[in-house]
Amino acid sequence: MIALPRYGAPALVLILVLLGCAGRTDIRVAADAAPRPSLTAPPIFERVETVDLDNGLTFVLLPRHDIPLVAGRILVRVGNVDNPAGSTGLAHMFEHMAFKGTDVIGVTDAAAERAVLDSVMWRGDELTAALRSGAESGVVAALQGEISGLEARAATFVEPMAWPRLYDEYAFDFNAYTSEDITVYQAELPSNKLETWMLMESERLQHPVCREFYSELGVVKEERRQRTDDDPDGAMWELVTGTAFSVHPYRYPTIGYMEDLETLNPRMIQEFRARYYTPGNMVGALVGDFDPARARNLLHLYFDDLVAGPVPDGPGVVEPEPTAQRRAVHRQGAERRLVIAFPGFARDDPRLPAAELLAGVLAEGNTSRLNRRLDLDEGMVRSVGSGATLGFERYPGLFYVSASLMPGATNEAVEALVWEELARVVAEPVSDERLDEIRRVRRREFYFGLQSNADLAELLVKWQAFDGLVRRRWRGGDAQTR
């Protein structure tokens, strides 16, 4: 045994999550202000059309023939907020399981495999119950050993990773992500492989098999260790949301807490699918080099058979107005960071675009108020950031300011200056010129986001999922006032 050398003393990252009603008053919409000129929709949007299937599934199509590629997206309105209590990480785990194949793809003897997987499911129920009841470690270990043996037996009927390997042959990129609000399945293919996208996506929606569950759970645990436990930034943001929200499920990490991950099981996956993966809860998008008439026919052919079901409700939890600041400190690594977060606005709140512009006023470029004060004048930060939602989409998110501190700067000093600048937004209103500068940046960013099939597909599928009408977003982007 040798002594393990460690460098330095325990280092510090200080996170302050500050919540207060004061944030509400910082953002105002002047109802009587003159309307700003609207953004002009580029001609490309004239070609957008929607296909509504009888089962409730809607697709948005945008043909573009510049290069022979297509990008496809399937968005499911289910995310971390929809997990049952005590099962954080389930939505994300489901997304992983969606790459495990079907009763046709990835199996050599489906009937034999099903019999073993049924046993895995029952033992999984018992394991979850044992873990949740605090059963003796010997009982848990015995169940884990039994499940491990069953999965090994099931593996004899399985072609490992057959589904992604097969997709590899047709798509040059396919992936998925789960957020707090949604799950999105992404693929990009040569245009002659369009039908493959339809087939693969409809197959995994209709005939998935929950195989290799526990080995995949191992992968997800490694993902958590890599992205959260060993990453100061990941750990920090988990703490930010965990502190900022008191009851709303936005407070839970999408990857899941390790102790919750331990208790997930195949039956939960099955029930989750039955409840949330219904056609009315999904939207698709297809952008690229395809013939719309043929695409429409293929969509009906492959997706009409999805069985309609009730559109599930959301979590139904409303985050109460905070009554006091909440502060949290996390120590990990050597570099200091600071986050101050406020209650944000819902997606359809008319104040949200103003909040988005305010975030730009505060932290967009060297001339922004926080950059000028904290970085250029005081040399206290390496960078500052601000945003109006923190990426939350279905329910009110967080307006936040973040800072990465330079050595020697204290969190207290940086925090004090941030508060001063936030107060100055009210005392010294933003000029029309500055607001126009931010609008100009946002307009350019928006246009640059319309260039690739993948970006367009992502944009369209979200517009359709959240706003229900693609062109509606044009009304909001540019017509904000101080």
């Binding site: 050398p5 990129d173 390496r382």
Partner: protein
């Protein structure tokens, strides 16, 4: 005749839209029409001072991307020059532009909503601007001054130094970046562009005059190529650039670019950097002589890298539930290429992870890569290449980079055909030749293996040496 045409058209339409009665459930049942995956080519002109200009028009969206790529880079610089180059990359655009002070330049950019960015890497420097079509004329002179006459303000230089050191210290907090930096130092050597991380003393010693001299020496018309992509026609783009940039000249020929010699072979063995982490990060590498981005075997090597490393190794380690994203790959450089395994796993499973990866490499002999795996690799590489040429800005960026880094004409565009030309036999023999770490790779482990040295020695890779604590940016 008209009726015949209509009937023919209707039949053609039916042929296109006709669908099978039964829905296939396996993609292997589908048959695909052939497709030509071609890469778009920009148009070209030359300014009166000899600068090549590439233009790619796209009028879908009212935006313009503008870029200058300059042949320069850390691979051409001595160790002593690299801290200045690192700071040049940071300060370029932030230390003033032309006659404008840093603050005035910030205001000018903000007023136009203009994004200007600069990058100075191993093989080229880039000065880019992104703007709406209506702002092009106003933005062009600012971009020109940034390219030709950037400022090197002393106060902003001090700020840039602090930022660079802060960024280097950030490596210490990220297990992945830490493993990368330490491994590159072990593999390439600490004096090479890849293995060198600036120290505080090196950064502090750099002066504004050095940056100005470095810029003046390398950023000259003879080393610069310019591109315009987006909502602008060729004639207008060239006329604007001629008026703005055509008079830029420098006296005499620039000094030749000399590639800094590579270090000798690295010391092999297992190196352990203890860190208090949940996971262990592992890197394993070996140089492969004779393989580079310009070598005839580049396309084959890329297909092998995907087929074995990104596919077989990645899927095997995931199937075993050991890792979120471990893989093996060929890191093919302009000067050197190495085979690398990189992964992260729990402290208890380090040995298992490496064993699975090594088994997969050994399997290329018993189970050679097959036609399906070749197809998947081709699909990935070709599709990825073409998707990177999806926007006008991307098209000029890739072409400019090829020119600035001295690649053969049409290099990137020609890769599609080269991927197509590789056979299954080529792939199998390439895998056997390159996917082998041999007896003496360089291995780095960052973390706390559960069984300490026993885990590492069980890899059979030789004695383990414990590295002294490393702090970057100090």
């Amino acid at each position: 005749m008209i009726r015949a045409t209509i009937v023919a058209a209707a039949l053609a339409m039916l042929a296109v839209t006709a669908l099978p009665a039964e829905v296939p459930r396996d993609p292997r049942e589908l048959v695909f029409p052939p497709i030509a995956l071609t890469t778009p080519e920009p148009q070209e002109a030359v300014l009166s001072n000899g600068i090549r200009v590439l233009v790619f028009e796209n009028h879908d969206v009212p935006i313009v991307s503008l870029a200058a790529h300059i042949s320069m880079g850390s691979r051409y610089l001595s160790l002593a020059e690299r801290p200045a180059y690192r700071l040049l990359s940071r300060l370029w655009g932030d230390g003033g532009i032309g006659d404008l002070s840093p603050a005035a330049a910030d205001s000018a950019k903000a007023a136009l909503g203009l994004t200007l960015s600069t990058r100075a890497d191993e093989a080229e420097a880039v000065v880019e601007a992104a703007m709406t079509r209506e702002d092009f004329a106003a933005c062009l002179p600012i971009w020109r001054d940034l390219l030709v006459a950037p400022g090197w303000d002393e106060a902003r230089l001090d700020r840039a130094k602090a930022q660079v050191l802060k960024d280097e210290r950030g490596i210490n907090d990220s297990p992945n970046r830490l493993a990368r930096a330490v491994f590159d130092r072990l593999l390439y050597g600490p004096r090479t562009p890849q293995g060198h991380v600036c120290t505080a003393a090196e950064v502090e010693a750099v002066s504004a005059a050095e940056l100005q001299a470095l810029h003046a020496r390398y950023v000259v018309p003879a080393r610069t190529v310019v591109g315009v992509g987006g909502d602008l026609g060729l004639a207008e783009a060239v006329a604007c650039l001629e008026a703005t940039l055509g008079s830029w000249t420098t006296a005499g020929d620039p000094p030749p670019l000399t590639v800094w010699p590579v270090e000798p072979e690295p010391e092999s063995g297992v190196f352990w950097l203890p860190q208090d982490l949940e996971q262990c990060h592992v890197r394993m590498g070996r140089f492969l002589p004779g393989l580079a981005t310009t070598s005839p075997e580049y396309a084959r090597a890329m297909l092998v890298s995907f087929g074995v490393g990104y596919s077989r190794v990645y899927y095997a380690t995931r199937t075993a539930g050991l890792s979120y994203g471990s893989l093996t790959r060929l890191v093919i450089g302009r000067d050197r290429t190495y085979l690398e395994f990189l992964g992260a796993t729990s402290a208890e499973t380090l040995g298992e992870l490496v064993a699975v990866a090594r088994d997969e490499l050994a399997r290329v002999h018993a189970e050679p890569l097959d036609a399906n795996e070749l197809g998947a690799a081709r699909t990935f590489l070709t599709g990825s290449l073409i998707s990177r040429l999806e926007t006008a800005g991307d098209i000029i960026r890739m072409t400019l980079r090829d020119i600035a880094t001295g690649m053969p004409p049409g290099y990137s565009q020609g890769l599609v055909a080269r991927y197509e030309a590789v056979t299954v036999e080529d792939l199998a023999s390439g895998a056997r030749a390159w996917m082998d770490f041999g007896p003496d790779p360089v291995v780095l482990v960052v973390g706390q293996p559960a069984n300490g040295l026993a885990d590492l020695e069980a890899l059979g890779l030789g004695p383990v040496r414990v590295l002294e604590p490393i702090r970057f940016g100090e």
